[in-house]
């Protein structure tokens, strides 16, 4: 069982900043995220888009913001459970919470902070009749272990960055890679498109466009796919895997069954105090919460993270006196033994 002071559901910008704020108050954090990487929407939906309203950053790319937040909180050594969905929340007799993921990983903490953005990302599944039947038996929506596709025949579908990037990566280990897209044009980064073009010319990637995977054939597991081209012709292609990569759509998901007050698909919190939910000890910060006047902005989530940490500290240390410290005065003491501090000014006499 993973034990921590603050368990954060969601590793987007607000969850990551909460690690830093908690660290300043000597509280340790562990984060759970359904995606296999940190960053939430910033990494998944718009990594290369500039953000213009982060204070003191006239312009910053979303993935740069995430990299900087990771750097800022690294000395507080957060733990991560990535690629797993938080399924259940249970209050234990000692007033702490038990959160179990879909993979069965158990987490225990006295404070739970939901920084889940718009919810957990779920794959957008193509509208093919029997697709559910082959899930886990030839159909995958995420690639966690590229090695699983070694010497396999793989069909990928989609026209964005993930389809292109995985086609490139898997082309070096799979027996065959076929990329199917509805159009001849791809939406991904230019250098990825060019790489795929090169691999296609080298016969390392079999490109079928404009076309769609129309039918899935197999007994127990997937055996072949029927690809329909836009001219009406069809191709029957033997394959071990079909990986549709049509992006992800966020759903509030299991969190909605945790007994939290929910309004308009968001969690109601006390914004005049500390962003706590109706369950004491459970907070919600960032885009996932709602209150009168709520603004879904990263900068508002940062503020909510700081407020939440002050309150969490009082719950964890009911009798301890403390005063807000300024990092300019006290510096930042990491759990890794590091201590960042402003250099002492040199006092020199003028004679």
């Amino acid at each position: 069982m993973i034990k921590t002071d603050i368990l954060i559901i969601g590793s987007g910008p607000v969850g990551l900043f909460a690690v830093f704020e908690a660290g300043l108050l000597q509280m340790k954090c562990h984060l759970i995220d359904v995606l296999p990487k940190v960053g939430g929407q910033c990494s998944e939906i718009y990594p290369k888009k500039p953000i213009y309203d982060i204070p003191a950053h006239p312009e910053i790319l979303a993935d740069d913001l995430i990299n900087k937040l990771m750097k800022q909180c690294e000395q507080f050594q957060p733990g991560f459970t990535l690629g797993e969905r938080a399924m259940t929340l249970e209050k234990l007799e000692n007033n702490s919470f038990l959160v179990i993921t879909d993979k069965g990983t158990e987490h225990n903490a006295p404070i739970v902070v939901i920084a889940g953005g718009l919810g957990s990302f779920e794959p957008r599944k193509p509208l093919i009749e029997n697709i559910n039947k082959f899930e886990g038996n030839g159909i995958e929506y995420f690639i966690k272990e590229p090695k699983d596709f070694t010497n396999k025949n793989v069909v990928l579908a989609g026209g964005g960055d993930s389809a292109l990037d995985w086609a490139i990566e898997l082309s070096s280990i799979a027996s065959s890679i076929t990329l199917v897209h509805r159009r001849n044009e791809f939406r991904g980064a230019l250098d990825s498109v060019e790489k795929v073009q090169k691999l296609k010319d080298l016969n390392k990637i079999n490109l079928i466009t404009p076309a769609e995977v129309h039918e899935l054939i197999g007994e127990e597991s997937l055996e072949s796919v029927i690809i329909k081209k836009s001219d009406g012709s069809t191709i029957d292609l033997k394959t071990d895997f079909f990986i549709p990569l049509f992006g992800l759509s966020p759903k509030l998901g299991p969190i909605s069954n945790w007994g939290l007050d929910i309004e308009k698909n968001a969690i109601k919190v006390n914004n005049s105090l500390d962003y706590q939910t109706n369950i004491p000890g459970v907070f919600a910060i960032g885009d996932v919460n709602t209150y009168p006047g709520k603004l879904k902005l990263i900068l508002c989530g940062f503020h909510e993270a700081a407020m939440m940490c002050q309150s969490a500290f009082k719950i964890l240390n009911p009798n301890k006196k403390f005063l807000l410290k300024y990092t300019t005065v006290s510096g930042v003491k990491g759990f890794d033994g590091s201590h960042k501090q402003a250099p002492k000014s040199v006092v020199k006499t003028i004679s």
């Binding site: 718009y46 939406r187 698909n265």
Partner: protein, 109 residues
């Protein structure tokens, strides 16, 4: 500058004729959100960057709109329930030419 009327048919098939401001540099996705005509988390997920297709709508009146941009075209090519009349509502700025426009919000996916 006066506001214009735009009719939005929500995902339950209910028709709403709403006042759309011409001077707030809003797009149709934002108009739908501001009148709360779709679940907040089910529309405009990417914030209006043509990167998620959650705001897909069908144009049901005879208005002639600007052509789809490459980005919009590419995103729609990966979306579901796409028709010839499909547009990403975040890519349609509210202008005087849209007076009495009728749109239907595409099913959630």
């Amino acid at each position: 500058m006066t506001d214009i009327n735009i009719t939005i048919i929500d995902r339950l098939g209910v028709k709403h004729t709403v006042l759309a401001p011409l001077d707030m540099s809003m797009n149709i996705m934002e108009l739908i959100k501001s009148y709360e005509l779709a679940d907040d988390a089910s529309i405009g997920v990417c914030g209006g960057m043509a990167m998620c297709a959650s705001c897909q709508c069908y144009i049901e009146s005879s208005h002639v709109l600007d052509d789809r941009s490459d980005e919009e075209e590419a995103m729609l090519s990966e979306a579901f329930y796409v028709k010839n009349s499909s547009r990403l509502s975040c890519q349609i700025p509210i202008t005087i030419g849209l007076k009495n426009l009728i749109i239907r919000i595409a099913p959630e996916y």
